[in-house]
Amino acid sequence: MDFLIFKAPMLMVQASLDGILLGILFALIAYGMALQWGVMNIINIAQGDLVILGGYIAYTMYLAGIHPAWGVIVSPIIMFFVGWALYKLVINKVVDRDLFISILATFGIAIVFQQLMNFIFGADVVVAQSEYGTTMLFDNSVTLPNSKIFSAFISVLYAVALVIYMKKSRLGRAIRATAQNARAAKILGVDTEKVYAATFGINAALCGIAGALISITLTLHPYVGLPYTVRSFMIVIVAGLGNLPAVAVSGMGLGLFEEFADYILGTEFRIGAVFMLLVFILVYRRFKLSKKREYLK
């Protein structure tokens, strides 16, 4: 094995730390996906593009001279309304339909979003400078940008806050009731239409937070949304719907996989590796289930 990473053990520490911190961010996006999938039974291909849009909101603030870290508060608020509007315009017409219809419809939305972002923000790769500096560990052999630590911290904070909100608040209970049985919830007086809109809004808001964090830790580009969709989809099918600890763990696992794939296969195959992992996970689950003569549902 002639890979650099196996020769220098410190690189492994570096990759692991990077992977875990990145994975927490992925888990946040995946949590939003699990939420809407569980409640509304739609798969949102535009998830990644909502993330990127949230990132561009933070980037716009950065250009205006405001510190981009404030994006984690402003971006979810704006994105909540974007999500709400999106629900009212398109998503409410595909909720009760075949899942493939929702996939295609949100694919269309994703294309529109990509192109509009391309018009407004340009096709350059951009990053918002947080200027948080870096932390050096182990005799300066491992460098850790403070922005990554910050983003992981904020992700955990928001995830915990959302879990508590879903458990305690009235809307949270309505959302959970609708997820269990939309018809029964409707009979008992829950305005499911409103619940759906709120769910999609919350999902978009989570994407907004993640996007704002991505704008300071990684890079933004109008066309990189789809990998985020696929990552969150992957995390959700591994972890299952509505199992938050599992979402966090599989998010970190995905982050680790990506960082190691980056070192071993080379950066040019990173996205390819993510998509291949998706195929492998699905095929693995399919073979595992087919032993019991079942299939993924």
Binding site: G272, L282, Y295
Partner: protein, 354 residues
Amino acid sequence: MNKVKQKDLILYSSLIILGLAAPYLFSAFKVQLTYLCVLIVLAMTWNLQGGEMGYNTFGNILFYGLGMYLTASVQVGMFFPLAEWTESGGEKTFVHTTAQYFQGIGVGLLVSAIVPAIVAGAIGYAILGLRGHYFAICTLGLGIAAGEIAGGIEIIGAGQGFTTPPFPAEIVDTEARGKFFYFLSFALLIGTFIFVKYIYGSRFRLILNAIRDNEDKAEAMGIQTMKYKIVGWMCSAFFCGLAGGIMGGLIGYIDSTDVAFDGREMGVFMVLMAILGGKGTLWGPVIGATLFHFFKEGLWTLILGWQYVALGVLIVVIVVYFPEGLMGWLREKYPERFGEVIDEKDRKAQVELK
């Protein structure tokens, strides 16, 4: 019965004559017509999966791109070292003679039909075991992964792309190149149409429909569903590979994500065209592809820059409001013309129930 056949005969022969005459009638639009043929082929083969079998695939683009790379690689590799060709950007150092060019493209197309079919057969058992949206997402991932991976492989040009051999310069006729690719794609279109029409009249189609309607029951009836699913996918891969090979030669330049494994354009187009025309019908994809192509070519020059926004909106509108497509709409309006007999009593009873 005889009368119906005669009508069909007139229809088909007039269409073939129109197809053969088209490059002379619309001499300036030969490239567009070639595109149209390829789009129809892609929509028809997608319809075999999405419409007939109920497996909504985004992955047929995989075979299309594979065919494109294979044809070009074989065409170059038969006569020249492939690595040097892609490194130097092609034509400057090596020149195909006329005979070499046609030999190369002939063998290349053969390979680009067979290899994707074999690939489909090889991955079919694993992938086709997935159902519904898992299958859709998995094939979407497969198509994009293929593009990303092809963009990292040095010998086929990696990120900088692959220039396919230029049309032999010895043929001075300026029209020859367009005509050659048009007739090639038209032949492919006819071949695909005959094949799909044959399938539509066969037991194979009934089995595919049974899989679509209820796979578990089909299996319980003793149909080896997996076998038929794989064969169906291999048929699609065969024609998609050929279509890709022809398009590679026509475009003259292969980029991994923008031309070959172009999930964002071609991959969505084929789904959209089949749905627009009406999936699960013989003529639906043909009509859908034709309409879509006219719409695209007519409108896209007017709204230059906004075409992707228009495309996205179009997808949403078609999918949300016309999921049954044009043929589905016609079928609802004129059920008699599709050989459906409606019992008047039954209809009245239904109305009363409402």
